[in-house]
């Protein structure tokens, strides 16, 4: 049985206690109805989504690493931001693996922060450095091979993740927090400046979680669903202003301070109601 709305349960119990002695009425009746709600279907749906994204991530990473190894700079640069979007969409799952996540997605700054040197740096951002900063693919074949191996391992291990409703709700908010703290500042893609691709993917990842939980949310608070719809629309509309080509975005460097402020505010305005999705577990 799903947990009764608190208001209703309190009412019922208050009525039941109406004839009782004072001291009994002062006990805390709300706890009595607490029972975990069943969100297995939603959890399964999300896991399925994550696996789909990971399958695509492996395929696209394969194409990307092939381009790097064959020295096709142009192709590699084109594939780089698109392949990463599959990873960014399912980041709440991908980052459950503390060892694999940095091997695939660490920035040099992260490595240095952890007290390690450049020799420990691997993954997408290392190749990003080669492509945009050094303007070469030479010497990156090994990094590319390792990246593909790590990506495949990530895909295999996703099956084992214990997805919970809490992970979903927290994950959705975390995706937006990622945007607020690193994408909006251009710190994620400091060489390629393809931050808006990651931005879009993070928001899509958060929206997916909302869509899966939407019926539950609507049941508890219809206004919250409506509010979230509006705020997602507003954020996507802002992002659309910075699209270029078929499925691309302009460089982060083209954004003005006013642009990033608008985007940042739209993220915050979405984040507040998004953090209320936890009501489905109350």
């Amino acid at each position: 049985m799903k947990k009764m709305p608190v208001l209703l349960s309190t009412l019922l119990i208050s009525a039941a206690l109406a004839g009782c002695a004072e001291k009994e009425a002062s006990s805390q009746p709300e706890e009595a109805t607490a029972e975990p709600i069943d969100l297995q279907e939603e959890v399964d749906a999300y896991k399925e989504f994550a696996i789909e994204q990971m399958n695509e991530f492996v395929l696209e990473t394969e194409k990307f690493t092939e381009a790097v190894k064959s020295g096709d700079m142009e192709k590699a640069k084109e594939l780089y931001p698109l392949a990463r979007m599959y990873f960014e969409r399912s980041e709440p799952i991908a980052e459950s693996f503390g060892d694999l996540d940095p091997r695939i997605d660490a920035r040099l700054a992260d490595i240095q922060e952890a007290g390690q040197g450049e020799e420990n740096w691997s993954g997408y951002h290392k190749i990003e450095y080669g492509l945009w900063e050094e303007n070469t693919t030479e010497g990156y074949a090994e990094v590319a091979d390792q990246l593909l191996t790590d990506t495949k391992e990530l895909r295999a291990r996703v099956e084992t993740v214990d997805v919970t409703p809490d992970l979903m709700v927290t994950g959705a908010v975390d995706l937006l927090n990622e945007v607020s703290t690193s994408k909006i500042t251009g710190e994620e893609e400091i060489y390629s400046h393809t931050d808006l691709y990651d931005f879009q993917a993070n928001v899509e990842g958060a929206e997916k979680i909302f869509r899966i939980l939407e019926p539950e949310i609507t049941e508890k608070d219809k206004a919250l669903t409506e509010n979230l719809e509006t705020k997602f629309d507003a954020l996507y509309a802002l992002l659309d202003k910075h699209r270029t080509g078929e499925n691309g975005f302009v460089s982060y460097e083209e954004l003005t301070a006013e642009d990033t402020k608008q985007l940042s505010e739209a993220v915050n305005q979405l984040g507040e109601p998004l953090s209320q999705m936890g009501i489905i577990m109350e």
Partner: protein
Amino acid sequence: MTSTDEKWLEKKISRRSMLKITGASAAGAAVLASGMGGVAKAFGFDILEDDATAQNKVRFYGKHQSGITTDTTTHVYFASLNVLVESQNELQELFKTWTPLAVRLMNGEQLEEMSQGVFTPPKDTGESIGLDASNLTITFGVGPSLFDNKKLGLGTKKPAELKELPHFPKDQIDDQYSGGDICIQACADDPQVAFHAVRNLVRAASGKVTLKWTQTGFTSMPKEKDKKATPRNLFAFKDGTVNPSPKNDTDMKEVVWVQPDDSQSWMTNGTYLVVRKIQMHLETWDRTSLKAQEDTFGRHRDSGAPIGKKNEFDEVDLDSKDTTGNPHISADSHMALARKVKDRILRRGFSYASGLIDETGAYDAGLLFISFQKNPQQFINIQNALGRADKLNEYITHRGSGVFACFPGVQKGSYIGEKLFNAF
């Protein structure tokens, strides 16, 4: 308000905050007690009461808003907001949402009695837990741009005198610290309480407003013979010696409170807030001789007395001369110029110190000048009189500016700004 908001309010409102239904009926409001017998509601918002038992508390309800003639506190957090709402109805709802929250904040209460569900963020950001009301006041005002926003349909209610301030000589106004659709002035004797108030009001209005600029400020009143003395600004001069007394009703009616027929009817018992962010060049000031400092203001630094006199409140005589026949108070001193104008204003300023100016490494410090007047023209006349001549100009730069129409006070059963929305 979302239904979840209503739920937590209904569930956890403290009993002492509840309104007696009879009181609200007298106000002509259609009041219904909720099913829980909890919070009284009128027009779909919650009516809470001032908590007479709260420590260091200023009343929310009254003829005038708090934070204007109530005692000056030691801290301010001033916020200017732009609205994101797209209709008058939404704007009205925003002020209805804010009203009970403001009462709670000024009671020194949290926005919820205790942390509720663990899977959602707490309703109250919580940094004021354990602190009392700290004489918190929250003053709301609306800027000219709100009336120019066509979507809100308030154009015909814009008072003629509510317009952005003109450019004054030597102004270096930066849009980054200027204007705004709504202002919230939160004053308290604790900086954390003041900040908490604005933070939570803005958070409760997520998606409806956005912060345009904010400024913290502080001031300290030394005690002299158990009485609060005039505070000093960062140049060490007493600031506000000639201020009218907020305790003097006649003066306040003359200087501060809009009287019937003065303006648009909804402004009666309201006032205008002028805010100026004035950078004070501390480095240059600190290498200025005491004599030059005193000549700049026209007063002695330590006593605050007019030059040539002994005490702060001694009569100012612009004609008095020293033994060599020169006037004690030079004609281009700040005080001499200010006294040429008949207009009066009620000043309620604060100092600020906000880190450094990036380009120069100088202190970003100065005066968060706030004044209240029944017509912004009073301020404009004074500022024009200071003009280019003011000796003080060499040491200060006006960087931010704003003018806001502050609503009259809120009666129990009503909400902030109701008169604006219901004016004809």
